[in-house]
Every structure is written in C-alpha cells, then in structure tokens.
C-alpha cells in the first residue's frame, strides 16, 4: 500500500482500523525525510519528539478517540518556520533567529495539535518570507521535487516541496503576496490563502501585518478544506481575526458549479504568459464552461499598480515589524569583546547588519525610506490610498461574478539562480497573486496541468471576503476534471 498517496480521510480510516499505527505512519515520513530531503532541503528542523507525539496519539486511538472529536487525528504535518512551535527552533529562514526557541505555540500550531496532528518538523522558506523562490533562506535554497534544477517557489517553498515529495501529509505556509499560492503552483499541490482575518496571526513571525495570512498546502482540495476548518476562527490573541463562524468547508464541497459566474480579468494579458501556462489556463476555462459555469470578462484597471503598492506597503510594515530584532531579548547579537565599551548605535547596526540577509535589508531600507519624513505622503500614504481603490475594484467585480479565475504566475518553476540577482524582475513574478492580499481576499491555487518540460502548472481562484466555499468548490470541480489529477514527481 502506498501510504503517502492517501488523503487525510483515507489515512485516518486505516489508522482507526489499526492497519497502521500513528507511530508507524510518522516513522514512514521520518524515513522519507532522512532519505530524500538532503536533495530537496525542504526541512530546516526535524522534530525529535515526533515519534513520542505519535505514541501519545496511538494511546488516544486505543482509548477510542474518533475523528469527530479530533479532525486531524494521527496526521503527520510540516510547519513553515515562520510559525512559533513551543520548544522547537523557529528561524523564519534567518540567521537572526538561528537559535530562537519559542516558549509558546502559535495559535495555528496549537489548534492543529489539539486536533491530533503530529509535527514532523519545520520547513524552509525565504528569509522572513521575503522572496518568491526560497533562495533567500539562510539555510540554503529549496529545490523543486519535479526538477531539482528549479526553484520550489516562495516564500513557502519548503511547505510546497514537502507536500509534493510526500515528506508530510500536509503543511502550513504563510502568504503575504502569493507565498502559498505560487509555490503550490510550482510544486503541483493545492495551496489556500484564506480571507484576511480568518486565521490567527498570533505566534507567527510578522512580516507585513496587514497582508500576512497562514493557510494549508495539501495534496488535494478536500484535505485543504479540512485543514482550513481546523485553523480558522476567532482568536482573542489576535484582534484582527474575524468573529464569523467558520464553515464545514470540506463537508460542503460540491463540484456542481452550474450557473456559477466565473470572471476573467481583462487586464491580465495572456500574451505575457509562457505557452504551457497559457494552454493550461485556456483548458481550465473550457472545463468550467463545459461544467456549466458562466464565463465573464471583468475589469480591474488598477492591476498595473498592484506591484508598486504592495512593495511600498509591505516594506513599510516590514521595516517597522523587524525593528524588534535588536539583539537584546532574543535573536542574533554581534560579538563584542567588551560590551560596556560599545556604543548603542554600533551595537544595533552590527547586530542587524550581520543577522539579516540582503533581501531583508533591502526591504527594511525601502520601508524606512517610504516612512521617513518628507516621503511618507508620496509613498506609504499614496500606496495606501491606491490600495483602497484596488479593493473597491474587486468589490465592484464581485457584483457581477462569484469567482475570478487566472493563472498563478506567468511561468512554471524557473531555474535556481535565474532571477535572484535582479530584485525587480523577481518582484514582477507576483502580478497575479499580489493584489489579492492588498484587498484581503481569499485565494487559492489548484494544479491543472503539466508543462512539456515536466513541471506542474496550477490556476488561481479568488472570491469575495469570507466566500471560501465558492472558491473551494470550483477548485474541487477542476481537480476532478483534470487530466493530470494526482500526478506526483518521481523523487528517489
């Protein structure tokens, strides 16, 4: 039996039938990680207590625990290294947090553990989630399991690669401008960025607080919906979380999308797409038409300003958020022979200069510049005004359609090293995903094809705030009708 091809529900079935124990299942993943991950580099830290956690779950099962009370009972998972895990190193992909061991679990992690999931380890990513290729990690780049010469995408590259290579049953990533959806597309897995406020940010290393949102990366839409149910919901530790009731998205999944209005964005020019991406995108439109969806063209005229607005706002928030790394309470501190003879400016400057990598430094400086006296109005404030207009346009668009369909990025996974030397070109990768975060909308990517070169290609679905069900239903329908459903990379 090929365990790792099973869905969460199928795995739980064999766990409860005692055909396999949680211990054996965890051991199976740990063995795969040990054997296969050296070439992929998706994990930064493996949880030494994973087997202990699995044993405790087996005891629960033998005492009659059910999946009604523990929705993720016995399921081994990986967590992006942005999310705090009690007693387990949480680096955010940075030298700055190389030795940071959080004294608490982030809300997302504690909710997953409470529902019976087992932590396999912490996943590699771009440093502080700043990047689109997982090449800015202090711990080395993540390789794409479909082609080791290619990037896994980013910033949640480790989270996507680990699911694709079957090094975890599911993973959690974070998405500030596309960081779940883009690596999911590059690695051929499902990735969901929930509505801003659906999922608590408590205990997640902050990059850009008004844009960050955590979400699942999974092998299929049903698993993703189930995980989302577990992590979503109000949290008194994060005042930006919504008090709306979460819904049983996985139970409600419905592939009948007849009459659903699917919008295509006029401004997303298809002549800029790589031929294979264009082809898969066109096929997804045809499939939805055949399934009875009504295809409409809608307009988001401010699309071209999405990238400037995003980088101005995200960098400004980052410069403020990352001010906490001062070498005093936690994190890296530069070495000084005689601390009492060091000037404070030098102490901070050297500590932060050593602890942060170049992409992080660039964004801190960009943000500091945008927020500095004399530039605030022209940059941060102006960007926040344009952000409002972008959000208004989406609201307008959702009056005439239910779901927006688009490519995730213009190309499949690119080669390692190909774009890292030119930050602006790297920023331009994010054109289709980025405005979704600015407006706080839910978005997801779902695999729908494979390029001639053997790389997976996904499509993106976006809906109005808190309408995750609609987006998941369309993804579910596409998944069922995909020619490449269940395709996995050949990793050995």
């Amino acid at each position: 039996m090929e365990i790792s091809n099973l869905s969460i529900k199928e795995t739980q079935k064999i766990l409860l039938e005692k055909k396999i124990s949680a211990y054996e299942l965890t051991q199976y993943y740990l063995d795969r990680i040990e054997k296969l991950d050296p070439q992929i580099n998706s994990y930064i830290t493996v949880n030494e207590k994973a087997l202990e956690e699995a044993k405790a779950i087996d005891q629960k099962i033998s005492k009659g625990a059910t999946i009604e009370s523990f929705s993720l009972l016995g399921i081994p998972m990986g967590i992006k290294d942005m999310l705090c895990t009690k007693g387990i190193k949480t680096t955010a992909g940075s030298k700055m947090l190389e030795n940071f061991i959080p004294p608490y679990d982030s809300t997302v992690v504690s909710r997953l553990k409470n529902q019976g999931a087992i932590l396999l380890g912490k996943l590699n990513q771009d440093e502080f989630a700043m990047g689109s290729s997982s090449e800015t990690s202090y711990y080395g780049p993540v390789k794409n399991p479909w082609n080791l010469d290619c990037v896994a995408g980013g910033s949640s590259g480790g989270s996507a690669a680990a699911v694709a290579a079957e090094l975890a049953q599911f993973t959690i990533g974070t998405d500030t401008g596309g960081s779940i959806r883009q690596p999911a597309h590059f690695c051929g897995v499902v990735g969901v960025k929930p509505t801003y406020g659906r999922v608590s940010r408590y205990g997640i290393v902050a990059y850009a607080s008004s844009l960050d949102q955590a979400g699942p990366l999974a092998k299929n839409v049903e698993d993703a919906a189930l995980i989302l149910e577990t992590i979503a919901g109000h949290d008194s530790m994060d005042s930006t979380t919504s008090q709306r009731k979460k819904e049983p998205w996985s139970e409600n999944l419905n592939a009948n999308i007849k009459g659903l209005r699917v919008g295509l964005v006029k401004e997303y020019r298809t002549d800029q797409l790589y031929p294979d991406v264009e082809k898969v995108y066109a096929e997804s439109i045809e499939t939805l038409k055949k399934l009875g969806a009504e295809i409409k063209e809608i307009s988001l005229p401010l699309t071209e300003f999405g990238i400037p607005v995003y980088y101005l706002i995200a960098s400004s928030e980052a410069s403020s958020n990352l001010a906490r790394y001062d070498g005093v309470r936690y994190g890296h501190r530069a070495e000084f022979k005689n601390l009492s003879a060091v000037e404070l400016e030098k102490f901070y400057g050297q500590t932060r200069g050593e602890g942060f990598g170049k992409e992080v430094q660039r964004r801190i400086m960009l943000g500091t510049y945008c927020l500095s006296s004399g530039y605030f109005d022209a940059y941060y404030n102006k960007a926040s005004q344009v952000r409002r207009l972008i959000s208004n346009q989406y609201q307008e668009a959702f009056k005439s359609c239910d779901v927006l369909l688009s490519p995730v990025t213009t190309s499949p996974a690119f080669k390692l090293g190909e774009r890292i030397s030119d930050p602006l070109t790297m920023y331009l990768n994010d054109i289709f995903t980025i405005t979704v975060n600015l407006a706080g909308l839910p978005g997801m990517s779902v695999p729908f094809g494979i390029s001639k070169g053997g790389l997976p290609i996904g499509v993106q679905l976006v809906t109005a705030p808190f309408e995750e069900q609609k987006m998941l239903n369309v993804a579910y329908a596409l998944e069922m009708n995909s020619n490449t459903k269940g395709a996995r990379p050949n990793v050995s």
Partner: protein
C-alpha cells in the same frame, strides 16, 4: 535617485551597518525599484481614505482574568546575554 550617501543615511535610520560595496549595490537596486514604484503618482487619489487594514476590526469581550502564562526564566531563556532575570546590554547613559 537614491545615491550611496542616501543609502548610508537610510541604513543609519534602519540601524543596519552596511559596507561601502553593499551600499553601492543597494543604491542601484533601490533606485531602479523606486523609479518603477513612482508610477503610482499617476493614480488620482483625491479624497480617498488610505486603507491600512483590509477588514474592519471588531471589538469583543473577554473575561478579565489574571494569567501567569510564562515564568521569568522562560522569558529570559532566548536572550543572547543575561544576568539573573535581567537582559545584559551596553551602557545606555
């Protein structure tokens, strides 16, 4: 144009020690990025309220309970240098 001198100034504000070689590189990259970003000045934003967060923040009630969630030991454990329950820092006065 963000020249090397401006980079040095921003780096100082950001509390980042940046070498001359890096300052040169950042100057080219940030100039290019900002030049591109300046396109937003073309958008008419007259009387538009800046959007600082995408959702309305809803107030909520909770019980006013005193909780001791962490000990001083736990809080000091990640400090690069400490003395008892105190963080050790350079002289600040």
């Amino acid at each position: 144009m963000i020249d090397k001198k401006t980079i040095k100034k921003i780096a100082e504000l950001s509390r980042l020690e940046v070498s001359d070689v890096d300052a040169e590189e950042y100057s080219v990259q940030l100039s290019k990025a900002l030049q591109f970003f300046e396109h937003i000045s073309k958008v008419d934003t007259h009387q538009i309220e800046p959007m600082i967060t995408p959702v309305e923040i809803e107030s909520f009630w909770r019980e006013d309970i005193v909780n001791q969630e962490y000990t001083a030991e736990e809080m000091i454990k990640n400090a690069p240098e400490s003395l008892g329950h105190l963080f050790k820092v350079p002289p600040v006065v």
